[in-house]
């Protein structure tokens, strides 16, 4: 669409959402560097997006929407700073104003240093913040999720999450947490939190609760980290893991519907992404950390042309190794599913039963979902339907609810005996 042409509301929303996905993080990270005011930076970008929604329908989508958003957000930041400046007249704000004004018409690519986003990530992941605050802050400020979406990712209320974000931003300001990429001697110990946060951003995008660009953004952040810290095995392991999972994206979503790994059309897997992952480093070896092990698991799946070709013995053994370094209930759940594939559904159900008492899995929809699948394969459709109904009630997203509904309805279709339960 050419500038000045009237844009449809849908076209404007799409153009704005594309531009925000591409530029929001750069703009926010640059504004925080200049102003040191996180709320101001986020407000300025939100205002710019609102203005785009008001003006683009009449004026047309600009030729470079990202540059338009950058310029508008910077002007808005100047307005907000001037207002604060009248009240408080702070030296730092005067300097920030000068820097903002000088770059106000720059293109987005030139308007912030290349590592502003990384700077923002390391600050969000600073160990002086609680891990919960680090992940929440990164999802909110780096990924641009709404407070409600972050709250859902943490299985907590929006009000609680809002308080957590507020406290985290205040601590950054008041405790003097620096806004920078750590020095080389500090980098290794600061990496783990960053890796955990990026992986969570990826899984958040993967879960379909947020913008689809999120998973791609996590891959991009992973590449940036590998570039910055090329000798970090776990950073490469994380990137390999993200790439291998991301390679399945075309097969895992068909017409907007989730397809389980078992049923995916593997010819749709992105072989370039798989090759990139496998070229990062050999995923075998000793002393593997959680990301290399999970990447190795994903590589086992990537090596199987059909689901039935999967080397489940290798999968179970990798989960055993993973449990040593990452003894989480979700890893145990996945190991139980793998045992069900290697030794048959009854063995899988027995492994699941051992998890039933884990309070950390209470309310986790994938536990009854896995149970439903194993019961169905064991030829017990009535119990399988009950388990899937349970999973359905707990599922956090519409996509997952639709997928579980389909699986339940399939079971009902093949089993007249349970048809009367609806």
């Amino acid at each position: 669409m050419s500038p000045g042409e009237r844009a449809t509301p849908a076209g404007v929303r799409r153009a704005l959402s594309d531009a925000m996905a591409g530029e929001r993080l750069r703009i926010v990270a640059g504004l925080i560097r200049i102003t040191r005011d996180w709320d101001l930076a986020e407000d300025a970008v939100a205002d710019a997006a609102e203005r785009a929604l008001r003006r683009w329908p009449a004026e047309g989508v600009p030729a470079n929407p990202g540059a338009w958003l950058t310029t508008t957000a910077r002007r808005r930041a100047i307005d907000l700073l001037r207002r604060a400046d009248v009240e408080r007249a702070k030296l730092g704000e005067v300097a920030a104003l000068a820097e903002l004004a000088s770059g106000a018409d720059d293109l987005p690519q030139a308007s912030c240093l290349p590592d502003d986003r990384l700077r923002l990530i390391f600050t969000c992941c600073h160990p002086a913040l609680s891990m919960e605050a680090r992940v929440a802050l990164t999802l909110k400020v780096v990924s641009g999720l709404s407070t409600a979406a972050v709250a859902r990712a943490f299985l907590t209320s929006e009000a609680t999450m809002g308080q957590r974000l507020l406290r985290a931003k205040r601590k950054i300001a008041h405790a003097g947490i620096p806004y920078r990429v750590p020095s080389p001697d500090l980098l290794p110990e600061r990496m783990d939190g960053v890796l955990a946060v990026i992986y969570l951003i990826f899984t958040e995008g993967y879960a379909g609760t947020a913008d689809d660009a999120l998973a791609g953004e996590a891959v991009r952040l992973g590449r940036l980290l590998v570039q910055l810290v090329p000798d970090s095995d776990e950073a490469r392991g994380l990137l390999a893991l993200l790439l291998l999972q991301h390679a399945r994206r075309a097969a895992r979503l068909v017409d907007g519907e989730l397809v389980t790994l078992e049923r995916q059309d593997r010819t749709k897997w992105d072989t370039a992404a798989i090759d990139e992952a496998l070229a990062l480093e050999p995923l075998t070896g000793t002393d593997r950390g959680p990301y290399r092990l999970q990447a190795a698991l994903a590589a086992v799946h990537a090596a199987a042309p059909e689901a039935s070709d999967t080397d489940w013995a290798a999968v179970v053994s990798l989960y055993d190794e993973l449990l040593d370094v990452l003894p989480s209930p979700v890893v145990r759940l996945n190991r139980a599913i793998a045992i069900g594939m290697r030794d048959g559904p009854l063995a899988g159900l027995a492994a699941l039963d051992a998890l039933a008492g884990d309070a950390r899995l209470a309310g986790y929809h994938l536990l009854p979902a896995a149970r439903g699948d194993l019961l169905a394969r064991a030829g017990r459709p009535t119990e399988a339907v009950t388990a899937l109904e349970h999973a359905l009630a707990l599922a956090p997203t519409d996509q997952e609810r639709r997928q579980l509904t389909r699986r339940r309805d399939e079971l009902r279709g093949t089993s007249p005996a349970v048809g009367g339960l609806a």
């Binding site: 408080r88 702070k90 600073h126 002086a128 008041h174 405790a175 003097g176 947490i177 620096p178 750590p182 500090l186």
Partner: protein, 118 residues
């Protein structure tokens, strides 16, 4: 930024080893760099006195605010560019091994929120 560093005991830390206590070198090094402002050791909690005024009456009691297994054994005031610099200095203090350190930023005039005055 100015930080108060509480030096506290910690029953879970490794046992105190006087031979490895290089606190004096630590002070000398960071005083020379201008990052150490002042600091001192404190007498143990047996010698602490808590003072309150309630309903116009001054209440004086023996002991610290709260009975815990850890107690404050000393303090240092640090002048640092940011928290990472303060963390690096704190991590080099012998009591990071034998106890634990808590970094508390001073309340600055720019902190707009109201709070208890020190």
């Amino acid at each position: 930024m100015r930080y108060l560093m509480f030096v506290a005991t910690d029953p879970d830390a490794e046992p105190y080893d006087p031979a490895a206590d290089d606190a004096e070198d630590w002070v000398a090094k960071h005083e020379a760099s201008g990052q150490w402002v002042m600091g001192d050791r404190l007498r143990p909690v047996e010698d602490a006195t808590t003072v309150r005024r309630r309903g116009g009456e001054v209440l004086v009691t023996d002991g610290p605010f709260a009975e815990t297994r850890e107690w404050i054994a000393g303090f240092d005031i640090l002048e640092c560019a940011d928290l990472d610099e303060a963390i690096a200095i704190a991590a080099a203090h012998p009591m990071a091994r034998f106890g634990r350190l808590e970094l508390r930023p001073f309340w600055s005039d720019e902190d707009e929120q109201a709070g208890p005055k020190g």
